[in-house]
Amino acid sequence: MEVTRRQFLKSLGSSCLLYAVSYVPGSGMQKIYSEPWPADKEDIECRFYALDTNYLDCFAFHEDGRVTVLAGRTELGQGFETVLNAIVTQGLDIPSNRLTIVLGNTDVCPDHGPTVGSSATEQVAWGIWEACSQLRKDIIRRAAKTHKLQVKDLIYQGGVVRSKREPERVIKPVETGRGEIVYMTLDPQASSSDRVTLEYKDLGLDNVNAESIVTGTRKYASDLKLPGTLYADWHIPPYHRKLTRIKSVDLADARATSGVNRVERIGSKVVALAERYNDVVKTLTRVKSVWEKPNRPKELRVEEEIRAGAVFQEIKEQTGDVNAGLASSYKTVTETYRTHYTAWAPIETYSALAKMEPGGDEVTIWSGSQYPHRVRELASLSLNLPESAIHFIHSPVGGAFGGKVAPPVSQEAADLSRRVGAPVKVIYSRKNQFQKRGLYKQACVFDFSTGVGTDGRLQARKLDIYQDLGEGTRDTYAAPHILIKHYRTDMPVNQANTRGTSYVQIGFAQESHMDMVAKAIGHDPFEFRRNNVVLESFVPLIDACADMIRYPRSGLGPDEGIGIGLCNHGARQMGVAAAHVKVNRKTGKVHVKEICAAYDIGTIINHRTVTTCLRGGMIWGLGWVLREEVKLDGHSVYTEHLTDYGVPRFSDTPEIKLQFLDNERPGKPRGCGELAVIPTVAAIANAVYHAIGVRFYTTPITPEKVLKALGKT
């Protein structure tokens, strides 16, 4: 539900009780103080700006029993609104129809950082759950004070305070202080059990947006329209944008297109505007431009160039003496793995609607964003307007995956709206979605040297990481001697964070390599991992996967194999996946028959949301390792369609089995979306090896590569 600041403040009036909850460290478990609500409405608005920076989530208790929650982070299709809905309805014991959750509106919502890294449930939703526990207590305390009752005689139930002695007596939260703001600080250092007095129960609620989604009534940014809106899209260079500049442009033909409103060159960019998007498309095909040819070879030798330009960044991990450790190992395995370029490829291309006020000094922007406050900040800089003059309203997103943190489309729409004096809706063509920003999940190179003892235990791990961020290398495998170095190279296209960040590349490489180390000493890949994982809590996950996929087993068909992959996503979230594949020797196609995965991710807020998210992550992983690839060379990107790119399809869908194990760390939920991707890629690669005995050192594992490896080309 979309609530503008004005509507929101109007709905509040001065007759609600507002809690502003922050999670900054404080002394003691919590401190609470309150002050009267300012009479003047403008002051309230000012106060909200103050809340943006100093306080996080706000809970407004209304006269009629409704509760409004203003929280950080945004819904991206991962089910965050559903998670929050489950948490607040249960935490405050109110029905869903009395709850309004507002996310991503920069006027009224707190800045709680970007919605990335599968962290929203852990960092925000659980904080709100803890706050609910404290709110209940505080509301009882307040009710006792205002109504001159004893705390011990009161209970919180059904969203109100009730007297145990007089069951008819009901005190609504708002009755304990109409027009008051209560500031509450939860100390993150205090243990969760100190703060949480409630026991969360997963009721398996429907996704809160389900009905609007299935009826087509959910309004994404690309669906919004204001009277007089002009559509816009860009003419983009035929070369990598960081390697070219526009030399000349001929807009005569484009300007003669029927239906076109304007075609303009703005700096090095050319934009077309029209009342109908189809006319924008037609116009852009008639723009003629000449661009500087990139000053470098057209051929892109990815691995060589990554090595040649490598600049040392840092030592990621160092223990013992790795060279001595390698020298004294029973067997050493030295290998190089290289990954490929991929794209976010959301089904909704970049879209934003902006309406600049006459005078050009205030703008409202509707778009989908993983970080609305960052969009506001960037728009403030590029439009030269104060942040208070920019109202960003997060709209439902048709897929983000790291690509919609604060993309330029919002600023573009706002700038164009100011230029043309009308609302402007920018919608990127599919080609522009693939090419305009020049950001891709990086091709990386990994050089491994790993030493193992006769007992099957790792002795030394030496790893040089090129291009990858180097995350995800720690806390999976133990060894007395470790040296991991990280290098970066400036390539023709830049690094993008995508679902699974750089854990995906390293996950593929490290897990493939560990299989080869196991093989070098004749150990089973599952058993080898049981013996070498840093954390014992991995072992039950490995066992669960082995059970689900029935490994080891006899009777696998010809060219079928089973593989395993592990992931420790930041020492908090652990996942193991096992895959069963069949390789078609005629076509070279890898068919993933089944993926089984086990996770240790703490309390499940909504198993339906989590399951959907995890399955989707597995299919994303399958796509990355087998299908998807951005085609590019030293000058240009050539991928412009979803099918050329290789987005996974229904026919790629394996059978999926999931298990959630809660080892010794119950309680706080831990994120999981990215965790599904990472072990899957490795499990599939290792299953291919098990099936046909061929190790692929580069991704993706395409039918062409498989046929070549089998000597069929």
Partner: protein, 158 residues
């Protein structure tokens, strides 16, 4: 091309629009008739997000020009299948099975599945995959969509 008047039968209503004859049906639905449940995802018929029923057959509205639809043909969009208060059985199954991630491709999925079920009320898993294979979902909701359709056809759901 000069604009001309066209009459379309959309969700059982006669609608008159003045547009260029080669205008894709997708943009007529979205911009002239405000039926934004039909989504733009690629514009070249690859993703299936713009699927609508034309005389019961699932078609890519981005690839159907206005001049190629006659006023006698019945166009049904996602909005014509059910409302929030009165979901179609298949829409209910999609809710029940959380058969979506972000939901952007979902209208196209439901349209395509509706057409499938009209022709083949009890499809197997393989038949579902074959019929749905050109509808893309980047969130990866495929297993849930398959389950939603299977549950519906097995009669275990309304």
């Amino acid at each position: 091309m000069a604009k001309a008047w066209f009459t379309l039968n959309v969700n059982d209503k006669k609608r008159r629009v003045k547009i260029e004859p080669d205008e894709p049906l997708l943009w007529i639905l979205r911009d002239d008739l405000d039926l934004t449940g039909t989504k733009f995802g690629c514009g070249v018929g690859e993703c299936g997000s713009c699927s609508v029923l034309i005389d019961g057959i699932a078609r890519r509205s981005c690839r159907v020009q206005a001049q190629n639809v006659s006023s006698g043909q019945k166009i049904v969009t996602i909005e014509g299948l059910g409302t929030r208060e009165n979901l179609s059985p298949l829409q209910k199954a999609f809710v029940e099975h959380t058969a979506f991630g972000c939901g952007f491709c979902t209208p196209g999925m439901i349209i395509t599945a509706t057409a499938l079920l009209a022709l083949n009320p009890n499809p197997t898993r393989e038949e579902i995959i074959e019929a749905m294979d050109n509808n893309l979902c980047r969130c990866g909701s495929y297993p849930n969509v398959i389950e939603a359709i299977m549950a519906f056809t097995n009669g275990t759901k309304p």
